[in-house]
């Protein structure tokens, strides 16, 4: 057990390759958040709509996204859809799986944020002659954004970490995929994965820090 000799050099030599993978990881996470926010806004609108079908659709989405494993969601996007003749490449399947997950959590986040803004705010806007849309856009939405911002940041970090599940659907260009391939060739499992973990950690920390700085600039009250 103690016979294992660490070969960190091999891992460090692969660092540039792994950093290229980290860029892909960040790219997928960012795209999945953009898609997730757009979908979550749509789901939130559905949940507030008068139609039972739309409300049911949105509620089901949120329930499934939040109460099943992310791995299952990504599997479904790749192999599940494949069974119906929709063949997505690993990159797209991973992106869609994570966006599905993001949308569920973010929709719940947006709903909470909407509830946090008292009705009297919109009413005050209306009584100044604003239309319902103006009063939502100018008064309610900016306040919602503040409430929703930090939880959304957490979801972004979660999205970065979820990208590592891509290896299970054949993703080989992101950080986890590249690490896995390096490992398969060298069997330096500990070194490669420890280095990958450090890179994930640093990305996550940088994203959180950037979000904090952005929040401090955006929300001055």
């Amino acid at each position: 057990m103690l016979n294992y000799t660490f070969h960190w050099n091999q891992a460090f030599k692969a660092l540039p390759q792994m950093l290229d993978g980290a860029v892909v990881t960040l790219q997928i996470a960012l795209l999945s958040m953009v898609l997730g926010v757009a979908l979550a806004l749509t789901l939130t609108a559905f949940r507030l709509s008068g139609s039972r079908i739309l409300r049911g659709f949105a509620a089901t989405w949120v329930e499934v996204a939040r109460n099943t494993p992310a791995l299952f969601q990504i599997y479904m996007a790749h192999f599940g859809l494949g069974n119906f003749g929709i063949h997505l490449n690993p990159y797209t399947a991973l992106l869609i799986g994570i966006a599905f997950n993001n949308a569920g959590y973010l929709a719940e986040n947006f709903r909470g944020a909407l509830k946090a803004i008292p009705d009297t705010q919109a009413r005050a806007g209306r009584s100044l002659g604003m239309t319902p849309i103006q009063s939502f856009r100018l008064i309610v939405l900016p306040q919602m954004l503040r409430v929703a911002f930090l939880p959304a940041t957490n979801q972004m970090v979660w999205a970065i970490l979820m990208t590592s599940l891509g290896v299970t659907v054949g993703m080989n260009t992101d950080l986890a995929g590249i690490t896995q391939e390096l490992n398969a060739r060298s069997f330096r499992t500990f070194e490669f994965f420890a280095l990958a973990a450090v890179i994930y950690y640093i990305i996550a920390k940088l994203v959180t820090l950037a979000a904090r700085l952005l929040a401090a600039r955006m929300f001055k009250y």
Binding site: T120, Q121, R123, A124, G125, R126, S127, L128, G129, M130, T131, Q134, L138, I139, P142, Q143, R146, F219, K220, Y221
Partner: protein, 240 residues
């Protein structure tokens, strides 16, 4: 002129306004007093169309408030309202709070809106607070800001819904002084209030509401000096 004719209003099975008749002329200050649940605040939110009514009619300068084809957004530009909870917009500075509606609703240029906002804020004594966020101010200051925000739309009528009820006693005076100033400038006002001294001081007429009915209306001298209705007498005896 605001004309309220036989207005009835219910919240589900509870009838809160049971046929109110009241006419308020240009330049007049009418205060409404009465116990809680008497329907006086509800009447104000019906006047600017925030609440629908079940029967009767409210007209403002000939426009029927609750008619289907009435543009309420347009109507509300000339009927300002200030609530018990001042509803400051927390994400905007004091200046931005007041500028927002003139810019977005009236479509004024930024410079013009700012000029109006500064003027109104100076008027209510907040010239020093322009770039402060509302949560850094006292309730009295926030309430005066809400008054300036309503006035920045150049309304012809102002409705005040118990604007001092949520304030610390020591802050009530500054807000009442602002209302008094407006009354002296000739603003047409309907004030729902629990401040009897204020009502006696500024009103042209005082109305007493009791269980959704306007039990009595008259000059301050008549209503406070020689109330006719037994419910008015009982109410005034209880608040003195």
């Amino acid at each position: 002129m605001i004309e309220i004719k036989d207005v009835r209003k219910s919240f589900s099975t509870l009838e809160v306004l049971k046929g109110i008749n009241l006419t308020v002329n240009k330049g007049e200050v009418v205060t409404i007093i009465g116990g809680s649940g008497s329907g006086k605040s509800t009447l104000l939110t019906c006047i600017n169309g925030l609440e629908p009514i079940n029967a009767g009619q409210i007209t403002i300068d000939g426009t029927v408030v609750h008619a289907k084809d009435t543009d309420l957004n347009k109507l509300r530009r000339k009927v300002g309202i200030v609530f018990q909870q001042w509803n400051a917009f927390p994400h905007l500075t004091v200046l931005e709070n007041v500028m927002l509606a003139p810019r977005k609703v009236l479509g004024l240029a930024k410079e013009k809106a700012e000029e109006i906002a500064v003027k109104q804020l100076t008027h209510v004594g907040l010239a020093e607070k322009l770039n402060v966020y509302p949560n850094r101010m006292s309730g009295g200051q926030q309430q005066r800001m809400a008054i300036a925000r309503a006035l920045a739309m150049s309304p012809e009528y102002m409705l005040f819904d118990e604007v001092t009820s949520a304030l610390d006693p020591m802050l009530v005076g500054e807000v009442l002084d602002t209302l008094k100033m407006l009354a002296e400038e000739g603003m047409t006002m309907i004030c729902v209030t629990h401040e009897m001294a204020f009502a006696r001081d500024v009103s042209d007429r005082v109305a007493f509401f009791h269980h959704g009915v306007m039990a009595e209306i008259g000059t301050p001298d008549q209503l406070f000096g020689a109330p006719q209705h037994p419910d008015t007498q009982a109410f005034l005896a209880s608040v003195r």
